[in-house]
């Protein structure tokens, strides 16, 4: 407990590269490696154990079924990804007047395809209509109370995918906006009278209780604190050879772990305000942040420019669309 507390208090210098790493992670939308690695309290023995397990998993020959599954996932993903406009082929076509999103052939041919035909591999000898029949039966069985679910058409699926992509993008933009916000709020050199009103937020945000930070970018601070805390914890562990409480026993009760001191201490126990905020759609969160930036800092997130006065002359509008 003491050590984790210390890590928070001691976390004074947030190095830029750590922050950048965090940002890069989110912007690139990659899935972070197994979170257990980050949240586990690790001793040398544990580390040895982990290393051994990792080596084992590396040496583990994936079963044929696993491989086949992976191959199929890979294939489906590739099939759903259109070719990049960076390809030489695209450039040659562009020279002939092709525009992304249009079709080939005589202009005005509405029936011309824009997407390649899908690839469906039929498995087994089920007759025509059997797959749908099975699906229908399955849905009947599972959702008897709610009745038959509507068959998900391709269009619905595509729509959902597009929505998910959009959300992911908005999520990434949110992190960007939070970063901008924090920069403004924590940068003393830009202090003006607007800033004075919000003065309480200035300074190193990590040195005070996170709940005091504006909810708009509290997540960013919290996330960074968390990473830093874990980093320090691991660092401390490596330094402290005396700790011999290494346990990696899955049967171990929670209370035991707390008694051993290996149980994670929850720092931010409750933050209903942040939870509420995070429950909003990413687009909405983004909208609020953009608005905040405009009102308080005369900064347009889309123009990436801080205007000299409140009229913000030259900025086309509040939404991304207006910025083309």
């Amino acid at each position: 407990m003491a050590s984790s507390k210390a890590s928070i208090d001691g976390n004074i210098n947030v190095t830029d590269d750590i922050m950048d790493d965090a940002m890069d992670d989110y912007m690139s939308m990659t899935i972070p490696e197994s979170p257990s690695n980050l949240t586990q309290f690790e001793t040398s023995v544990q580390r040895r154990g982990r290393k051994r397990r990792e080596a084992e998993s590396r040496a583990h020959q994936a079963s044929k079924a696993e491989l086949a599954h992976q191959a199929r996932l890979n294939r489906d993903e590739a099939l759903n990804t259109s070719l990049p406009v960076s390809s030489k082929g695209y450039q040659m076509m562009a020279r002939l007047g092709f525009k992304a999103g249009s079709a080939l052939g005589k202009e005005g041919n509405q029936q011309a395809r824009k997407e390649p035909l899908g690839v469906f591999v039929k498995e087994g000898r089920a007759g025509v209509g059997m797959d749908r029949e099975r699906k229908r039966k399955f849905e009947d069985d599972t959702d008897r109370g709610e009745g038959i679910q509507k068959r998900q058409t391709e269009a619905v699926f595509r729509e959902r995918q597009a929505r998910e992509r959009e959300q992911k993008r908005a999520e990434g933009l949110c992190w960007g906006a939070m970063r901008v916000l924090e920069e403004f709020e924590s940068d003393d050199t830009t202090t003006d009278k607007d800033k004075a009103d919000k003065g309480e937020n200035a300074g190193s945000s990590t040195s005070k209780a996170t709940t005091a930070i504006n909810v708009l970018w509290r997540e960013l601070v919290k996330d960074r604190d968390e990473k830093e805390r874990l980093r320090r914890m691991r660092y401390d562990l490596q330094q402290t050879l005396s700790r011999s409480t290494a346990h990696d026993d899955p049967d171990e009760e929670k209370q035991d772990r707390q008694a051993w001191g290996t149980e994670e201490e929850e720092i931010e126990v409750q933050d209903p305000e942040l939870d509420d905020f995070n429950r909003l759609e990413p687009a909405e969160r983004l909208r609020r942040m953009v608005e905040y930036l405009r009102e308080n800092w005369r900064y347009c997130f889309w123009c990436k420019f801080q205007y000299p006065d409140g009229r913000m002359e030259g900025c086309p509008g509040v939404t991304e669309n207006e910025h083309g």
């Binding site: 259109s82 082929g89 007047g97 080939l104 997407e115 039929k122 498995e123």
Partner: protein
């Protein structure tokens, strides 16, 4: 036209005399009664040119021709009628060759006149004469493929223009057999007035006026003659099949007709979507000839089938047990499935005959790779009842969708349709081109059902529900152009002088990504430059009737001192599978294959087979030798033929033919390097710690196809095909080295274009290795 033949009037007279004399009853006994005058044979026997001598007539008024006139003297070009043509056909001498007509001819003539298209000959001629483009719809069996080109000949008279009439066919076999049939019908020798031209085989001569050819061949000709000036009329047959070449030709002809107002086009289709053709060809007139069909009753199943093959067998047996006389046609998807079904039906029928006294049932398989002799057997008559008055015998044909439109089998009364066929798919995103079992279209299902009504009212059993028919089946099958890799087509189009590939007016333009991929591939193969213009290599590659990758491999092979070997290999890769693996003798077949196996891969193994095949002991009795070694004689012979044709092209283009001495330890290495020169985009790398491979750039997990002989498990390999089944396979593989890839295809293996991952690191290691080697070398040389 008239001025061309000063002897016209003289030529016209013997015709009349010909008709007035009755001196040749031996040749024309059936027509003897029609002659009013003594014919003068000499008028015709002077041959070809004299026969043509009558071709004129624009000046002659229709009322000027006498009832007994024949030949072309009284047949003004593009003003003829069915009546005139009929009289010319009646002889007594062949209006084209001038030879007396044979007995056989006259027999066939009667049959021909009973064909449905003959009823509308006048209507056809009127529309043909009026319009530059004509759409003709006639079902299979209406006689359109054999008759329409002849109708055209009598009206278009290409011999007078010194031009030809071309009739395209999607399939080689069809082009050959139809040409033979029409040569018989016209009473001429195949290869003279009527000929055919398919890839690697040209059976035409200076006299040829009607040429059946594959659509691909006409496209090739257009490359050297963009306006197709040799032809006065082009007939695109079986256009509904929408092959890649037919679609490309249609796009091209749409442009050519504007440049050549004298060229006539007839587009023939067997199916319903004729309106689509009409609107594509600027609302060209349409003529439909009803087929001679009977009503077909359609049955659906109550519920979807768990196993369509099993359901199909059950249905066939049930028909045999309960339905009256009539043959059965069952549609399945592929060779293996068909052979298996045939075996099972035979077993069951034997039992039925023993136990319930059923009639005899003969089962015949039918699929594209079946030897022609065996394909012919489907026309054998059905077996007769074993005892007089007993249960009727019948035949059952188990076929792929080749029996759907392209082959007509009379006597079929029952059709069993499980609703599947194997269809080619191509996806530019992972560059896979494969045959996959897919549900057929509604149009296909209708076509299949129609096969039951050829001789009398029939029945079609669809092994799916009516609901599934309505909701699961697409309207029409996707044309091939949407399901193919287009790199070959793009090269062709470039050669055809079409520069704006983006706006080229195709009936169904493919997805932009397909074109994108094709252009990119051709650019990496150095056939197109960065501006999309044909390079010298591209020009040369388009001379070969091969995929661009194969052509480039062949052209660059002299650099690797193995063009003789690569030539053989290219031929082997262009023909069907050379290895035979019958279900009854798989083990033995595998043992035989192992005799030829080369540890480095399948390409080299195929080459070993070819060399063994060409050796004196094998050539002593090739049939026996192939049989013993489980090899397909047909495939090897056709590879031999393809090789010869390609060799001629190489010689004419001065591509050197060289070999590395067999004793040289680099003999096989050189061949493997040459493979890389063409197939560097079809490379897979071994995945560390498992048996799988990953394709380069597309990062697809693939397995080696079980048929491979590869034993060394090299880290890198080139593959000929990426096939999809429930697993991803690469087929026909040979190991290569990363250094070769970097050396031979530096543009494609530009490391900056690779994403981080095992492939990139492996290539980086190879780069390091090359650098170290170079450094060592330079050190040595300094010392």
């Amino acid at each position: 036209m008239a001025d061309r033949r000063p002897d016209l009037e003289d030529g016209g007279r013997p015709v009349k005399r010909l008709r007035t004399e009755d001196s040749d009853p031996k040749t024309n006994p059936y027509l003897a009664h029609m002659y009013q005058d003594q014919p003068d044979d000499s008028g015709y026997n002077t041959g070809y040119s004299n026969g043509y001598g009558h071709g004129n007539g624009v000046k002659l008024k229709p009322e000027g021709r006498s009832a007994s006139s024949t030949g072309f003297g009284k047949m003004p070009r593009h003003q003829t009628t069915a009546d005139m043509a009929r009289r010319a056909e009646d002889g007594p001498n062949n209006p084209f060759s001038g030879q007396p007509l044979s007995k056989k001819y006259l027999g066939i003539l009667n049959t021909r006149r009973g064909l449905p298209v003959h009823a509308q000959r006048d209507e056809f001629l009127k529309m043909y004469q009026k319009s530059q483009i004509l759409i003709f719809v006639g079902e299979t069996g209406s006689g359109k493929t054999t008759q329409i080109p002849q109708f055209v000949l009598f009206d278009d008279q290409p011999h007078i223009q010194r031009k030809l009439v071309a009739c395209t066919q999607p399939r080689r076999v069809a082009a050959m057999s139809v040409a033979q049939r029409v040569a018989d019908e016209m009473d001429v020798k195949l290869g003279e007035e009527v000929g055919y031209n398919i890839r690697f085989e040209d059976v035409t001569g200076p006299k040829t006026i009607l040429k059946y050819m594959t659509d691909g061949m006409l496209l090739r000709e257009a490359m050297n003659d963009n306006d197709l000036k040799r032809y006065s009329t082009i007939i695109l047959d079986e256009a509904h099949e929408r092959t890649l070449a037919t679609d490309t030709l249609m796009g091209l002809l749409k442009e050519v007709v504007q440049r050549r107002p004298d060229l006539k086009i007839v587009v023939m289709s067997a199916t319903l979507d004729a309106q689509k053709f009409q609107s594509y060809f600027n609302d060209a007139p349409l003529l439909a000839v009803p087929g001679r069909t009977h009503p077909v009753e359609i049955f659906y199943t109550q519920a979807p089938e768990r196993d369509y093959v099993e359901a199909a067998l059950r249905t066939v047996l049930q028909i045999h047990a309960t339905e009256p006389e009539g043959d059965i046609l069952l549609f399945l998807t592929g060779e293996e499935e068909i052979e298996d079904a045939c075996r099972k039906i035979n077993l069951e029928v034997d039992e039925m005959i023993r136990e319930v006294d059923a009639g005899p049932l003969k089962v015949y398989p039918l699929y594209g790779t079946l030897p022609p002799m065996q394909q012919q057997r489907i026309f054998d008559p059905a077996p007769t009842s074993r005892i007089p008055g007993g249960r009727p015998g019948r035949k059952c044909i188990v076929s792929t969708n080749i029996a759907e439109t392209s082959l007509t089998i009379d006597g079929i009364v029952y059709v069993v349709d499980p609703g599947f066929s194997k269809q080619k798919v191509y996806n530019p995103r992972i560059r896979v081109e494969s045959l996959l079992v897919s549900a057929i279209s509604k149009a296909s299902a209708q076509q299949r059902a129609g096969r039951a009504g050829r001789t009398r009212p029939g029945k079609c059993f669809r092994l799916y529900t009516e609901d599934a028919f309505k909701k699961e089946l697409i309207e029409t099958t996707y044309p091939e152009i949407l399901r193919s890799n287009l790199s070959s087509t793009v090269l062709d189009l470039k050669k055809l002088g079409i520069d704006d590939l983006v706006h080229f007016d195709l009936m169904d333009p493919p997805a932009p990504e397909t074109l994108m991929r094709a252009l990119e591939e051709l650019n990496y193969l150095a056939c197109l430059d960065d501006d999309g213009e044909l390079t010298a290599l591209g020009q040369l590659a388009s001379e070969f009737p091969l995929d661009p990758a194969l052509a480039v491999m062949l052209i660059s092979s002299p650099e690797f001192y193995c063009s003789n070997e690569i030539l053989s290999l290219t031929a082997l890769l262009s023909v069907p599978q050379i290895f035979v693996r019958p279900a009854s003798a798989r083990k033995r077949a595998d043992e035989m294959k192992a005799l030829f196996a080369h540890p480095d891969g399948d390409h080299l193994t195929m080459l070993n087979v070819y060399h063994a095949f060409k050796s004196p002991p094998a050539q002593e009795n090739p049939k026996q030798w192939c049989h013993e070694h489980f090899l397909s004689l047909r495939a090897l012979q056709s590879a031999d033929n393809v090789r010869l044709q390609l060799k001629r092209i190489m010689e004419s283009r001065e591509v050197e033919l060289v070999s590395t001495p067999f004793e040289d330890k680099k003999y096989y290495e050189n061949i493997r390097r040459a493979l890389v020169a063409g197939f560097f985009m079809q490379v897979a790398m071994k995945d560390a710690g498992s048996k799988t491979y990953v394709t380069i750039k597309d990062n697809q997990n693939v397995l080696l196809h079980p048929s491979t002989v590869l034993q060394t498990e090299g880290e890198w390999l080139v593959y000929n095909e990426f096939v999809l089944t429930t697993k991803n396979f690469v087929r026909t593989v040979t190991t290569v080295k990363a250094e070769w890839l970097l050396d031979i295809a530096p543009n494609y293996y530009d490391l900056s274009t690779f994403t981080k991952g095992p492939v990139k690191s492996a290539l980086e290691r190879a780069v390091q290795k090359i650098r170290r080697k170079d450094a060592q070398k330079s050190q040595y040389s300094k010392k």
